[in-house]
Symmetry: C2
Subunit: 333 residues, 2 copies
C-alpha cells in the first residue's frame, strides 16, 4: 500500500479508502490510485481485508430456482450493479424447496455476506422467516410480502396494473369465461388474482365467475391446470398463465390439442420470454423489466450496507400489458 | 469446537476435519458431529476458518452471460453439487465481453476462491488466457478448447454426434442446400460446422455447398443471418441454428414471413428450450444435458481442490438429435 501511495502521490489512507470502496473518494483520486495499482500489479488480498473490516465485499443472492429465466435475469441485473461497486455475488439455489431457502440464508450469513437479496420460495415458511428476522446484515426482499418483524427493503412489481389492462382487453373482446392459472400463494399470484377479480366487479360482473387454479410455478402445473380447464363442461374462452413456466406448460397442451390461439381460445402469458414472441400467433403478455428489478435490489442493498441506519424502502416497478395475436373476439356460442 | 466434540463424543481434531470438509471423514463421524453442531446451534465462522486454512469454501463460476438459459442450467447443476459438498458458488457475469472474463477471473482469485469453473466468451483473448495460465487454484473449462499452457480439466459436449445425426436426417429428406448459423469461433461452433461438412463429404457432396454464417450467440445475429440467407437467389431449404439465442432470432424472422416449417423450410435448433417444444410444428433440436455439464464440472473441480496433484481430465458428454415436425421433405423446384 505504501508503494501504491508513493506511486500515486497520495496518502496511504487515501489508498486504503479507495480500495475499501469508501464512498467519499473523488473520481480523480480513484483514477490515480487504480492507475498506480495497475502499474505495480498490486493485488489486495480481499479476504484478509474482509476479516479486518468485517466486510467480505460479497452479497448473497438466495434464489428459488436459477434455471428459471426470470431468476437468471434478476440475478444478472443485480450482479452487474454489484460488480460496478466492487462487490461479488454469492449465488445459491433453493430448488423450489422452502427449507433450502433457510439453509442458504444461514450459510450466507456464516460466509459473512455483507447483505442478502432474497427471492423466496414461500412467504410463510416459519424457519425461513426466523432466519431472516435474526439476520444481522441488511436484507432486500424481491417480489414477496413478509411479516413486519422482518426488517427489510423491498422491490416489487405493480402486477395489478398489467393484469388489469389484460383483463380489460379480454372483456372488450367479449370474453366472460376467463381463467387464470396461478402459482403458489405469494405476492405476485395474489395480486394478479385480486386485480382480475376487481376488474370483473368494476364491470358489474361476478368476480366468483373467474376460474382460478393455483399450484406450483411449474410446467407440470401449467399443463395439468390447462387440460383440466379445457375439459370443463363450460370451458373458459380466455386463459391467463401466471408465470413463464406455467405458460410453457399451458402451450404444450394447447399445441397438442391443435387449438388456434386468438380464434378458438384467447391466451395471455407472463413474462415476455422468447416463446411468446415467436409463437404463431404471437402471444399477449404482461411483462416487467426483470434486469431492472435486479439492479434496483442491488442498489437498495448497497445503500443499506454502507449505512446500516438507512430506513427500509419499498420500490414498486411497473408492469406492462402487450396485446398480440393470441387474443381475439370471444367465440359465439 | 470443544463443546461440539464433547457433545459428539469425538476428538476436537475430528470436529475440525469434519467442518473443514476433509475427505477422510466417515459418514458416521460426519453425522455425529453435525448432530452435535445442530443441537448446540454452533455457527462456525467460515471466513475466519478460510483465512487459517487458506480455503474459502467457495468456487468461482465465470459465465459469459447468466441471463442465457444455457448458462443458468449449467450454473444450477454446478451449484447443487457444490452445495452438497459444503461449497458456495461465487457467480460472475461477463456480459459477453472477453475482458470482463479476465477481470472476473482475477477478482475471484483475490477473493481466494478455492477453484474456478469458466465458460469463456473467447478462446483467444490473450489477457484472459494469461490470467488462467497464472492461476494458482484448480480450473475446470467448460465447452472451450484452450492452449496447452493452461493447466485445466475440461467438460465438453460431443457436438459432432448430434449435428451429424441432424444433417443425415436432412439429407435423407432430400435437402441439398443446407445452411448453418454459427456463433463465435469457439469449440461448439467449430465442431458443429466441421461435422456438418464431414457428413456432406461422406455422401459425395461438396462440403463447400454448406452455407455458413458465424457471428455472435445472439438473437440479432440469428435474425439477421436468417433474413440474409432467405433473401439469397437460391435460398437454403434447411436451416440449422447453432444456439438457443440464434434459434430465437431465426424464428422471429420465420414467423414474421409466415413461413411454414417442415413444408416451406426445414429447421433445426439448439438446445431443447421451451420454444422448441411448443412451436407449431414442434422444432427438431440437438440437445445436451446442461445440468449434467454443471454437475460434472463441479465434481471434477472438487477432486482437484481436494488434491491439487490429480492429473487433469477431459470429460465428453453426449448430445442427441431429436427429430420433430419442423423438418420435412425438401420442396421440389
Amino acid at each position: 500500500m505504501r508503494e501504491v501511495a508513493q506511486r500515486a502521490g497520495v496518502a496511504i489512507s487515501s489508498v486504503s479508502r479507495t480500495l475499501s470502496g469508501h464512498p467519499d473518494v473523488s473520481d480523480e483520486m480513484r483514477e490515480q490510485v487504480m492507475a498506480a495499482v495497475a502499474e505495480l500489479g498490486y493485488k489486495p488480498d480481499l479476504l484478509a481485508q474482509g476479516l479486518r473490516s468485517r466486510a467480505s465485499l460479497s452479497i448473497g443472492f438466495v434464489a428459488g430456482d436459477i434455471s428459471n429465466p426470470l431468476f437468471a435475469q434478476i440475478a444478472r441485473g443485480a450482479e452487474v450493479r454489484l460488480r460496478e461497486n466492487e462487490y461479488s455475488m454469492l449465488l445459491t439455489n433453493s430448488l423450489v424447496e422452502p427449507d433450502l431457502d433457510r439453509q442458504n440464508i444461514e450459510l450466507l450469513e456464516q460466509r459473512r455476506a455483507d447483505g442478502l437479496i432474497v427471492l423466496l420460495v414461500s412467504e410463510t415458511h416459519e424457519p425461513t422467516l426466523d432466519a431472516l428476522a435474526n439476520l444481522t446484515v441488511p436484507l432486500v426482499v424481491v417480489e414477496r410480502d413478509l411479516p413486519a418483524r422482518i426488517h427489510a427493503s423491498k422491490v416489487v412489481s405493480d402486477h395489478a396494473a398489467g393484469v388489469s389492462a389484460a383483463v380489460e382487453h379480454l372483456l372488450e373482446l367479449g370474453h366472460r369465461r376467463i381463467a387464470i392459472i396461478g402459482g403458489p400463494d405469494v405476492r405476485p399470484t395474489r395480486q394478479r388474482l385480486e386485480s382480475a377479480e376487481r376488474v370483473l366487479a368494476s364491470h358489474g360482473l361476478d368476480p366468483a365467475a373467474l376460474i382460478a387454479r393455483n399450484g406450483l410455478f411449474s410446467e407440470e402445473h401449467g399443463a395439468q391446470a390447462t387440460a383440466e380447464m379445457l375439459d370443463l363442461a363450460e370451458p373458459p374462452t380466455a386463459l391467463i398463465a401466471g408465470s413463464n413456466q406455467i405458460m410453457a406448460g399451458a402451450l404444450q397442451v394447447i399445441s397438442a390439442r391443435g387449438l388456434e390461439l386468438g380464434r378458438e381460445l384467447s391466451f395471455i402469458g407472463y413474462d415476455d420470454i422468447a416463446v411468446a414472441k415467436v409463437y404463431r400467433p404471437p402471444i399477449s403478455v404482461v411483462e416487467r423489466d426483470l434486469v431492472a428489478i435486479g439492479e434496483v435490489a442491488a442498489e437498495l442493498l448497497l445503500t443499506h450496507v454502507r449505512d446500516h441506519d438507512t430506513a427500509p424502502r419499498e420500490v414498486v416497478l411497473p408492469t406492462r400489458y402487450i396485446p398480440r395475436g393470441s387474443c381475439g373476439p370471444a367465440p359465439s356460442r
